[in-house]
Amino acid sequence: MMVTGEEENLIVVDGLAKQYKEFTLHGIHFHLPAGYIMGMIGPNGAGKTTTIKALLDMIRPDAGHISMLGASTANDRIALRDSLGVQLDTTLYPDYWRVKQVAKSLRDFFPQWDDAYFDQLCREMDIPSKTKYKSMSRGTQVKLQLAAALAHHPRLLILDEPTGGLDPLARDELLTRLQDFIADGEHSVLLSTHLTGDLERIADFLLYIRGGRQQFFGHVDDLLNQYVLVKGGLNELTPALREVLIGLRTHSEGFSGLLAVDQTAGLPNTLLQESITLEELMIYFGRGGHA
């Protein structure tokens, strides 16, 4: 999908910063228009969860501006929670709650809560109604959170590692559900995950954070088109090439590393240049280098 200048942004983040004793999130900027899915990737401790916590007003940023669903202050954003569905990468509900208690408790708070839809989602996701929350598998706990997040018909979904505990079939169903969710052009999803394959399949935009710093925000294809994977024999690894390669890996047969497309001019034809996947991008950047 292409973004036009007139589309409504459901999230706008500008210069978000937060300092802890051992970690600092530096100036994060991004926006998420209605009708799109945005993926947030980065290694563990990169700042993804901190960013989500700031969006949910669980932490107070040291700097920056956040607008969500058009609300710019914390109180205004909280008042609009009915339009926001959230799944977090934690065990969220009390131990002994079952499906019934989740519905009973959330129904009180969300005017648009839809019992019939919640029941339908629980059936479709095979969530056992008699099992206590603490006895559910991690994947089922995530499914229950997702069902609860969707059951009050939000406009915006914020999901933190929703696919991690799911089996391939459940993951595929979730991704399809998310695509259906945004299909009318009015809804959006912000999705943080380590499973880059999922993002390549459904994400329109990508926010890449590493070490608390934003490395990239934009269309997924734009990011992937910025780099190539270069492979060759050890005798072709010149000092100049070693200097510019990102995440250089050497082995007995040769070497491989990422290279910015604008630095490929003049490379010998004997070197192999391949397009990259998001997973390769994360691995090579994780090994060392810069974006």
Binding site: K53, L56, D57, M58, I59, R60, N75, I78, A79, L80, R81, D82, L84, V86, L88, T90, T91, L92, Y93, P94, D95, Y96, W97, Q101, K104, S105, D108, F109, F110
Partner: protein, 224 residues
């Protein structure tokens, strides 16, 4: 106000507290009534009232224990309620539980008096009046505990949280033990007792309110 009530209901649901409280009160009530017929000592039933204070004190912090165990602060953050409503809900929970405790104590005292009129005799008024002491001490205990819990959470200060429970037990025991000497046979319902009762209620309400405002301020600033 609606959100405060909703949060209080969520507190009771979050720890299955209704069943726990009912069970604790039922068992303690039965023990208290049984002790009223104890051949060992006439004042043995007072042990049951001590148990009620302890049980209620434990109930008061259970929402926070559950919160620490299951990350309920994150759950609250997803709801369309302001942080002040979350704090208000906790305090309302404490107030309602204390009121419940007062009514229950009165009920037990009247029940014992009905079953065995000779046990209390003329001491019935002082027993009814000192039913205030337990709930009052619980509310004072909450007034100390809750701001601490709001700022640093239960998991980071479990022992600090239990100190007010111990203090509440000691003060309640002292007041209960010396009540007749202090105020005479009619307890707070006497010319000497009314000013003390009034002072206690006004002072207690002031402390409770100050604690609520402090807790709201502390929770508003906390990173969850």
């Amino acid at each position: 106000m609606h959100n405060t009530l909703r949060m209080m209901r969520l507190d009771t649901r979050s720890v299955n507290i209704r069943n726990n409280v009912l069970l604790i009160y039922l068992v303690t009530n039965l023990i208290t009534v049984a002790l009223a017929f104890s051949p060992l000592a006439e004042g043995a039933f007072l042990i049951g009232f001590g148990g009620l204070i302890g049980g209620s004190g434990a109930c008061l912090i259970t929402p926070f224990v559950a919160s620490a165990q299951r990350g309920l602060d994150a759950f609250y953050a997803m709801l369309p309620v302001r942080r002040r409503d979350i704090v208000n809900g906790h305090y309302l929970f404490a107030a309602v539980l204390s009121l419940f405790m007062l009514m229950n104590t009165w009920l037990i005292v009247i029940l014992i008096h009905w079953l065995r009129p000779t046990l209390f005799g003329a001491d019935l008024p002082i027993l009814l009046s000192f039913a205030f002491v337990g709930p009052f001490m619980l509310l004072m205990m909450s007034s100390v505990q809750y701001p601490i819990l709001m700022r640093i959470s239960y998991e980071k200060a479990p022992y600090l949280i239990f100190l007010p429970i111990v203090a509440a037990g000691l003060v309640s025991g002292y007041i209960g033990g010396s009540s007749t000497d202090l105020l005479g046979r009619h307890g707070f319902f006497s010319p000497r007792g009314y000013p003390l009762l009034g002072l206690g209620l006004v002072g207690g309400a002031g402390i409770f309110l100050a604690s609520l405002l402090l807790a709201r301020r502390l929770y508003a600033r906390r990173d969850l």
